[in-house]
């Protein structure tokens, strides 16, 4: 990865003094991720350019303890943009190589430090989440003229569109120290979430590098947030590896706990409302021993645990990660024994019969069935209504008709990327009534949320009661 900084303020070769690097020498420095090289492609009186090229060792990136440890089994690692794209690594190298200049010190020619120079900066591949617009948003307020050209993914395959990289040229009258600090802070911010942290005092570093400009930057919150955001852990568990086996993205398999609320606007309150309605239905049924099929991160379990009338609560989910999150969210390790004894979390799957889930008074399928491929619904029907056979079963699912009322949701899109279907009220009713008939239950349908006269409620709920058995 490369950055060049050009000064056109005569005598331009003063750049060498400011950077403490002689224009007629090529120098190399060891940095944490590889080797940084500094050289001057041109050094004339009216135009002088310094280049910093960082050579990253791609094998060390994968195999070295520093980076490889946690995700050593992720296929993508050798095929990695890190050796090419300007990111936190380049920022780290800038700081390592030009630390004195960044600090605004120049003992030989102290007067140069405060001078604004005509500077041009070229970064041929800036990793930018948010594209060219984000680049402009971050650099323009600092007085830079921004020329941000998006690099196509592959010029031979134009239909693939843009890549996430910007061929970036900046021009401006800036003090050199400021220019370097801008890059130091903003390159990782643009890259977002792909940091390789090298030390723990990042807040201090941000404060120092942002001195004089960050506090007045209109995007300062975004900058602070992204700069300090922790690297999102790549999926390193079994599911992620299976995605690789299949040649798909790890995230596509590992989305069991993807936050639905991110996609469905207003659903934060809807989720709460839904839980309240489910709990109300369970109370009305007089159920005290409840199994939550597909409990996810345990939102409902927490509500149930807060109500002492639920004496035995089981959360079952097929995602081990969801269960671990549920355990954390329920604060089980901090609850008294009497509460802890009321709840159990079990790894289970709705497409397999599970003896442990039989004999309960009530079962809940809250926002679960729409995550099941329609051909597998019959198996779920068998495991829940045929085999586990709780006296009461509460099912909720989105009402597809209501999707029009979510302005942010594109027409024809589902509320969650993992939804396999979303049903209209008629479709849900047909399914619910057929299940009830086949399995010996009686069913009642209820709205959750405001029941729009035209499209119905946002969520639909069905309460099944097992047809009374003669003693």
């Amino acid at each position: 990865m490369l950055v060049t900084i050009t000064s056109t303020a005569p005598p331009a070769t003063d750049l060498g003094f400011l950077l403490h690097k002689h224009p007629d020498r090529a120098q190399s420095f060891d940095v944490a991720v590889g080797r940084a090289h500094v050289f001057y492609p041109e050094a004339e009186h009216d135009r002088c350019t310094v280049a910093l090229q960082l050579e990253v060792d791609p094998v060390e990136l994968v195999r070295g303890k520093r980076f490889g440890g946690k995700d050593a089994f992720s296929l993508a690692q050798y095929v990695n943009d890190r050796p090419y794209a300007a990111s936190s690594m380049l920022a780290v190298a800038l700081r390592r190589v030009f630390s004195t200049a960044m600090a605004g010190r120049c003992d030989a020619r102290p007067e140069l430090v405060t001078q604004r120079l005509s500077l041009r900066i070229h970064l041929p591949a800036v990793s930018s989440r948010g594209g060219a617009e984000a680049v402009r948003q971050l650099f323009a307020p600092l007085g830079w003229q921004v020329d941000a050209r998006v690099v196509p993914l592959d010029p031979h395959v134009p239909e693939w569109g843009d890549s996430a990289y910007i061929d970036l040229r900046l021009r401006g009258e800036q003090r050199l120290a400021d220019a370097l600090n801008h890059l130091y802070v903003l390159l990782p911010v643009l890259d977002d979430g792909k940091h390789y942290w090298v030390s723990e005092d990042e807040v201090d570093k941000l404060m120092r590098a942002g001195e004089g400009w960050l506090s007045t930057h209109p995007a300062r919150e975004l900058i602070t947030q992204r700069y300090l955001a922790h690297q999102r852990s790549l999926v390193s568990r079994a599911v992620g590896r299976l995605a690789e086996v299949d040649g798909s993205e790890p995230e596509s398999l590992d989305n069991a706990v993807l936050d639905e609320d991110a996609k469905a606007p207003r659903s934060e309150t809807l989720a709460q409302l839904r839980r309240r309605e489910v709990v109300a239905a369970l109370r009305e049924a007089g159920a005290s021993r409840v199994v939550d099929f597909g409990c996810g991160e345990g939102g409902l379990l927490r509500d149930l645990l807060d109500d002492p009338s639920f004496t035995e609560i089981v959360g079952a989910d097929v995602s081990g990660r969801a269960l671990r999150l549920a355990e954390r969210r329920l604060n089980l390790d901090r609850r008294p024994d009497s509460q802890r004894a009321r709840v159990r979390l079990l790894l289970s799957a709705l497409t397999y019969r599970d003896q442990r889930l039989t004999g309960f008074e009530a079962g809940v399928l809250m926002e679960v069935i729409e995550h099941i491929d329609p051909p597998r619904l019959a198996a779920v029907e068998d495991t829940v209504f045929g085999f586990a056979r709780p006296v009461t079963v509460v099912v909720t699912t989105p009402n597809a008709e209501y999707n029009d009322r979510f302005p942010e949701l594109a027409a024809g899109r589902f509320r969650h990327p993992d939804h396999r279907f979303e049903w209209s009220r008629a479709e849900f009713r047909d399914w619910a009534e057929a299940v009830a008939t086949r399995s010996g239950y009686q069913v009642r349908l209820l709205p959750v949320g405001e029941d729009d006269p035209e499209v119905g409620p946002p969520t639909q709920l069905a309460v099944f009661h097992r047809a009374e058995v003669a003693a």
């Binding site: 693939w160 299949d246 799957a349």
Partner: protein
């Protein structure tokens, strides 16, 4: 009593029973047990005291010792092993616990009492230094024994043997008796016949169709039937009631049983008949009244004979070394070969949930869904339109008396033979579907006329979860770790197709050993060397297609799909990935299957193999069809970054060099990286081309895994690719050819030619080749030989190891890669794959197939370097 007049008593003990010894301390129980039973068969309370307290006489440890004793006894009985309890057992409470234990495991409790005079016992105790009980203890125990003697049978002991005096104890012999239900020595072949219900004419027709010769008496009554090949008929019960000639059926069956040509178990109708004939008060509904009327016309002698016959029937039979169990209403595995009231009740009436339905009839529990036993269970009792295998069980009651069919199972052939009813003999509550109607898998017609739709082949979590071992024919037992199973469960449950479509998941394949050549990681020489070392001379090199692995299951038509896989209308197979996900949505899947089906038709493959379905291992192209998102987000992205960054760096360096700066090393490296990036981009582009619907999608089948009747791992690869070539000829637009070359690992010229071929394949970025033993499944002197070794091309590997991996400094380090785990996984997954196929073709229950398929997925989730 003196020792002189003692006769040696013969003590009969059922081969599976809980033998409770009773005798005061010093009566010689341990010696007796040691003489007549095996070392591990005897559990002594003294030994258990020793286990828990280091002291066989520590009375304070008695409670703990008996807990241990009961636990061991329970484990042994669970496993079906005769067990002897060596304790005084003079107290009723102690014995009751043991009787309960026997009942809990459905084995017969038996007792042997050692009634030895008190002084003898006292004297023996006195002679043993570790027994310092006073004579009072012996006296008290003796009194308790005396009081116990009379009530033993009432306490539940089915057999009570009492040995009086030292002489009888010493002289007694123990013989083990076969259980009444134990016909394991009878190995068949058998013909198991379903519920006859008085349909004599149909029974005679069926027996004749099965090849039996019917023997008639003077009056023309059928009185016996024998098979020229010595086959034995087995009747599953309900011979009588509802039909036109129950006496005629009984006469024939009783004759066959008496002559040793048949065996029979009772049905609930026979059970009721016995009670009626004995004058008990029974309701005569469900056809019993008719039977009693018909029997009234026969003589009293015949009625007595019928009563004796029906009463003497044993409720279930275990045959053929334990591989076949026959019971009227079926039998769960835990009850096979057991004897208790509840076993009999299950065998006669089936399992119930304890609930009753709206008609007040008990709700049946679908025990067969849960059945996981190895033994075939053949039964009747519940009329179904078509006999259907459910987890190794089959119901043979096809409702003959209701106008259905009378059905037999030929065993071990597992063939179904049936004859239609001559008419509806008895009107069911709801019309029984006529035999001609299309059978519907999973429909069960109950006696009350209700039709219950069962989701066929439901799997249980315990079939896949937890630490498991899967037995494979080719590679022994393969262990699955619990965490791996959990990872696979999520993928299988959330994304995979219905397990009935998943007969196979492809195993992983190991690369050849790492090459030591300066500019390569993989080279054919290592693959040829490996096979040569394994003693394999003839290998086939197959072009490796860079696409997505696909398993294609194609049925001949909708009817066969329905029949074999319970497919809904319009579904005729599956095209799935290495993790069991469907490649395409339903419509495109069916389009591909339709094309393939026609190609198979045109190529004459269906007819040649007589197949109803075929399963192919394929590569589906292009790579971008399925991995498009990955190609864009991973490969194209890195290419874009590299091709934007590196030329700029190169330019800057060139200008610096022109200025005379010493940047030569860095410039050379940057130029190399620049051209590496170009090569990388060229490498992925090869595998991407646009597809629109089916247009552009290509399928490269390289192995025919199985049909409904056979697997083909023993056919050489030439045969497999021959099938592919015929498909190619039939549909060159869909089918992609697989280039290949044979090589002889022992012939240097041949190896050189194959190496050149690989160089040509990979020179312009081809993925590489797979070297396989041409004979296919091959065992070497160290067991299973790798079924294939991949040798990937130098350019292609940039997609795996990064654009710059060819730089010497990188290659040097990359050569250190650990292949052993990958190789071992490849073999285990290969064996599991073959196991799954074999089980599927042998029509084993779905859980058995799924167990092996699931295990492949579980192993795939293990942490192994994914670049291998």
């Amino acid at each position: 009593m003196t020792d002189d007049d003692v006769v040696a008593r013969e003590l009969a003990v059922p081969a599976l029973s809980l033998v409770v010894l009773i005798g005061v301390t010093g009566s010689g129980k341990s010696g007796f047990a040691a003489r007549h039973f095996g070392r591990y068969e005897v559990i002594s309370s003294d030994a258990c005291r020793g286990l828990v307290a280091d002291d066989e006489t520590d009375q304070s440890a008695t409670a703990a010792a008996f807990e241990v004793l009961h636990f061991i006894a329970s484990k042994r009985l669970e496993a079906g092993r005769l067990t002897v309890v060596d304790a005084t057992n003079v107290q009723r409470e102690a014995r009751k616990q043991l009787v309960d234990l026997a009942r809990a495991h459905d084995v017969l409790p038996v007792t042997i009492v050692l009634d030895v005079p008190e002084p003898v016992c006292a004297e023996r105790n006195a002679g043993r230094p570790d027994r310092d009980f006073g004579p009072a203890v012996v006296r008290r125990q003796h009194d308790q024994l005396r009081r116990s003697m009379r009530g033993l049978a009432k306490e539940g002991f089915r057999t009570v043997h009492v040995l009086r005096g030292v002489g009888e104890v010493d002289a007694a012999r123990v013989t083990r008796e076969r259980l009444f239900n134990d016909y394991r020595h009878e190995t068949g072949p058998f013909d198991v016949l379903g519920d006859v219900h008085g349909c004599r004419a149909e029974l005679e027709t069926l027996l004749e169709q099965l090849g039996y010769t019917i023997d008639r008496d003077g009056a023309g009554h059928a009185v016996d039937a024998a098979h020229p090949d010595g086959r034995t008929a087995i009747f599953v019960g309900d011979l009588i009631d509802r039909g036109p000639d129950s006496p005629g059926v009984l006469r024939l069956v009783m004759g066959m049983v008496a002559a040793g040509h048949a065996l029979a178990v009772p049905g609930n109708h026979e059970d009721k008949l016995v009670r009626a004939l004995r004058g008990r008060k029974v309701t005569t509904s469900h056809g019993l009244a008719e039977t009693l009327g018909q029997l009234a016309a026969e003589g009293e002698a015949f009625r007595d004979e019928v009563e004796r016959f029906c009463d003497g029937l044993v409720s279930h039979l275990v045959l053929d070394g334990g591989d076949l169990v026959v019971a009227h209403a079926g039998l769960k595995e835990a009850y096979h070969g057991r004897a208790s009231g509840r076993v009999r009740s299950f065998a006669l009436y089936g399992d119930t949930t304890g609930e009753t339905d709206q008609f007040g009839l008990p709700v049946r529990y679908p025990w067969a869904d849960d059945y996981r036993g190895r033994a075939v269970v053949a039964y009747g009792h519940t009329p179904t339109p078509e006999p259907e295998w459910v987890n190794n069980t089959i119901c043979l009651d096809t409702g003959c008396v209701f106008g259905g069919r009378l059905t037999a199972l030929r065993y071990p052939e597992k063939e179904i033979v049936s004859v239609p009813a001559r008419r509806v003999w008895y009107e069911p509550a709801r019309p029984f579907p006529p035999a001609a109607a299309e059978p519907v898998a999973g429909e069960e017609h109950r006696e009350d006329g209700q039709v219950r739709r069962r989701e066929p082949d439901v799997l249980d979590l315990t079939d896949v979860l937890g630490k498991r071992g899967v037995e494979t024919a080719h590679h022994g037992r393969v262990s699955i770790r619990e965490e791996s199973a959990a990872g696979a469960l999520e993928v299988m449950s959330r994304f995979a197709l219905h397990p009935r479509w998943l007969l196979y998941l492809p195993p992983t394949m190991a690369p050849c050993a790492t090459s030591e050549r300066t500019d390569l990681l993989e080279h054919p020489a290592e693959a040829f060397d490996a096979y040569r070392r394994d003693g394999v001379r003839h290998v086939i090199c197959q072009e490796k297609h860079m696409g997505s692995r696909a398993v294609v299951l194609v049925c001949r038509d909708g009817r066969t799909a329905r029949h074999h896989f319970g497919a809904p209308d319009g579904t005729t197979g599956a095209v799935h990935t290495r993790t069991g996900r469907s490649f395409f949505e339903h419509e495109r899947t069916e389009q591909i299957l339709g094309r393939l089906r026609s190609a198979l038709e045109d190529a004459g493959v269906w007819a040649e193999l007589g197949a109803e379905w075929l399963l192919f291992d394929c590569e589906l192209l292009p790579w971008s069809a399925k991995a498009g998102e990955l190609v864009r987000s991973q490969y194209a992205t890195v290419g874009a970054a590299a091709r934007s960054a590196l030329p700029a760096a190169r330019d800057a360096l060139e200008r610096a060099a022109e200025r005379g700066l010493d940047v030569d090393g860095l410039l050379a490296r940057t130029r190399a990286r620049d051209s590496n990036a170009d090569a990388f981009v060229r490498a992925y582009r090869r595998y991407c081309w646009p597809t629109d619907g089916l247009a552009g999608v290509r399928l490269a089948p390289f192995q025919l895994l199985a049909t409904d009747t056979a697997t083909f791992e023993d056919r050489d690869h030439g045969w497999h690719l021959g099938v592919a070539d015929r498909l190619l000829a039939a549909d060159p637009e869909l089918v992609q050819p697989t280039r290949r070359m044979l090589a002889d690992t022992g012939d240097a010229d041949s190896v050189a030619a194959a190496t050149r071929w690989w160089e040509e394949l990979t020179g312009d970025g081809g993925e590489g080749m797979v070297v396989k033993p041409d004979a296919n499944l091959t065992r070497g002197n160290r067991g299973l030989v790798q079924p294939g070794l991949k040798v990937r091309g130098r350019e292609y590997l940039r997609l795996v190891y990064g654009p710059d991996y060819t730089e010497p400094a990188h290659l040097e380090r990359l050569r250190k890669r650990r292949l052993n785990h990958k190789r071992s996984l490849a073999l285990r997954e290969y064996a599991l794959g073959l196991e799954a196929l074999t089980r599927a073709v042998h029509r084993e229950p779905l859980w058995r197939v799924h167990e092996a398929v699931f295990a492949v997925l579980a192993l795939e989730s293990e942490a192994v370097d994914p670049r291998l």
